[in-house]
């Protein structure tokens, strides 16, 4: 089991390359077995270091099996206070990603939705309409297949596929490695399409600047109430497949009210890739967000330059 990115053994694949080669740098101490242990116990070093981090090696080295071979009455039980958020590691990696993306001047968006809400279709249509006017790149997260990355690449935009295997969400570690495989352009857009899931991805910050949650109008009015976590931190909620509204019994006013109740800060846009309705509004939101990021970064750089000059 991979304790670094939380995926099952050998599960995560980036662009089809299995075997977790991205963990190679994580080891360091794991093969050194620098501790002194007596030779009076069977201590088979048969654990594999494929997808695991160095820490797993240490655990096995400490002989934590049922026999407790390493600690025969070594010391009495004691309490250790930790008070540590268990997502702190992910949050730290997310913060690294965020710093890197800001340095590169890239607007990163985390796209969240249940399966089938139309995330990939929206991306394909968005990239088609942008027509290369803005540089873009895509990270696709799915349990299996590289179908989505192939659909994106067909538009001429570079895409990296992350297959999470049994994993139900992307995390900051996977995205960090995907960033290593992408060449980003200053002023560009990076769309990160999360695994289709209305629950788990909500808890994992990827280092994005903005969260965009999609909900198709076919999914029912009460989805925001049933799955509040995925909506509550959204900066934008897109109500997709709006062209189907005339055929549905869905109460759009109630759906909107529920979105606004759970995500009072989010902007809401109804759109349809098929009819094109709402697409310009979405593209305008993207352009405005991009502009605001670039202005913010330029402002920071100018103020730093001013302090450097003042320090001359």
């Amino acid at each position: 089991m991979c304790t670094t990115c939380g995926c099952g053994a050998g599960e995560t694949r980036i662009n089809g390359s299995a075997g977790h080669d991205h963990h190679a740098h994580d080891h360091g101490e794991s093969h050194a077995h620098g501790h002194d242990h007596a030779n009076d116990h069977a201590h088979t070093h048969d654990h594999t270091h494929g997808p695991s981090s160095g820490q797993v090696g240490d655990v096995l080295d400490y002989g934590a099996g049922p026999a407790r071979a390493h600690a025969p009455g070594l010391s009495q039980a004691r309490m250790i206070e930790i008070e540590q958020n268990i997502l702190s590691k992910n949050n730290g990696l997310a913060s690294t990603n965020r710093t890197r993306l800001r340095r590169e001047g890239v607007l990163a968006l985390n796209l969240l939705a249940g399966p089938g809400a139309g995330k990939t279709t929206l991306l394909v249509e968005t990239l088609r309409r942008l027509g290369g006017a803005l540089p873009a790149a895509v990270i696709e997260g799915d349990q299996e297949t590289s179908n989505d990355a192939e659909r994106i690449r067909a538009t001429g935009v570079p895409a990296i596929q992350i297959n999470t295997g049994k994993g139900c969400h992307l995390d900051a570690h996977m995205v960090g490695h995907a960033l290593d495989h992408l060449s980003l352009t200053m002023g560009g857009l990076l769309f990160i399409e999360n695994v289709g899931n209305l629950v788990c991805p909500a808890a994992f910050d990827l280092g994005e600047r903005r969260r965009v949650t999609l909900l198709s109008v076919t999914e029912g009015e009460d989805k925001p109430l049933k799955y509040p976590d995925i909506f509550q931190d959204a900066d934008l909620v897109l109500l997709t497949k709006a062209d189907l509204l005339p055929h549905l019994d869905v109460d759009l006013a109630l759906l909107r009210a529920n979105v606004e109740r759970i995500a009072p800060k989010a902007a809401v846009i109804e759109l349809s890739t098929r009819s094109g309705g709402g697409m310009e509004q979405w593209l305008d939101w993207l352009r405005a967000e991009r502009r605001s990021l670039l202005q913010e970064l330029a402002g920071e750089a100018e103020s730093r330059a001013a302090s450097l000059r003042a320090a001359e």
Binding site: Y62, S75, L87
Partner: protein
């Protein structure tokens, strides 16, 4: 099933602390679970048992402590405690509430040898 990942992070944090505090075995792990952390405790216990196997946490008891959830009310502008995510504001009855506490899972302490 992100509970599995959460448990892996728990083990990760414990292993880091094993080096820091030099312990060899964990007897008890106390986790605080925020009311709004989106964690299914049954799934968490199940995942814990699976993930700790073969580590120095194997066999440890898992204590879960509930942390209350709080939210910012957009209508009355106060932070209030909510028993349920969808409860209205206990002060003003408003329904537009954004959670601002009780969203985390944290390791509080460990009993170790």
């Amino acid at each position: 099933m992100h509970e599995l990942s959460l448990c892996e992070s728990v083990v990760d944090v414990i292993l880091e602390n094993a080096r820091l505090h030099d312990f060899r075995q964990v007897r008890r792990v106390r986790l605080s679970i925020g009311r709004f952390a989106g964690v299914e405790t049954a799934a968490l216990r199940f995942s814990f048992d699976v993930v700790v196997r073969g580590t120095l946490v194997e066999g440890a008891e898992l204590d879960l402590v509930d942390e209350p959830g709080t939210a910012w009310c957009f209508d009355c502008g106060e932070t209030v405690t909510l028993a349920d995510r969808l409860d209205p504001c206990p002060r003003c009855g408003g329904t537009r509430l954004h959670p601002n506490g009780g969203m985390d899972v944290a390791i509080k302490d460990l009993e170790v040898v």
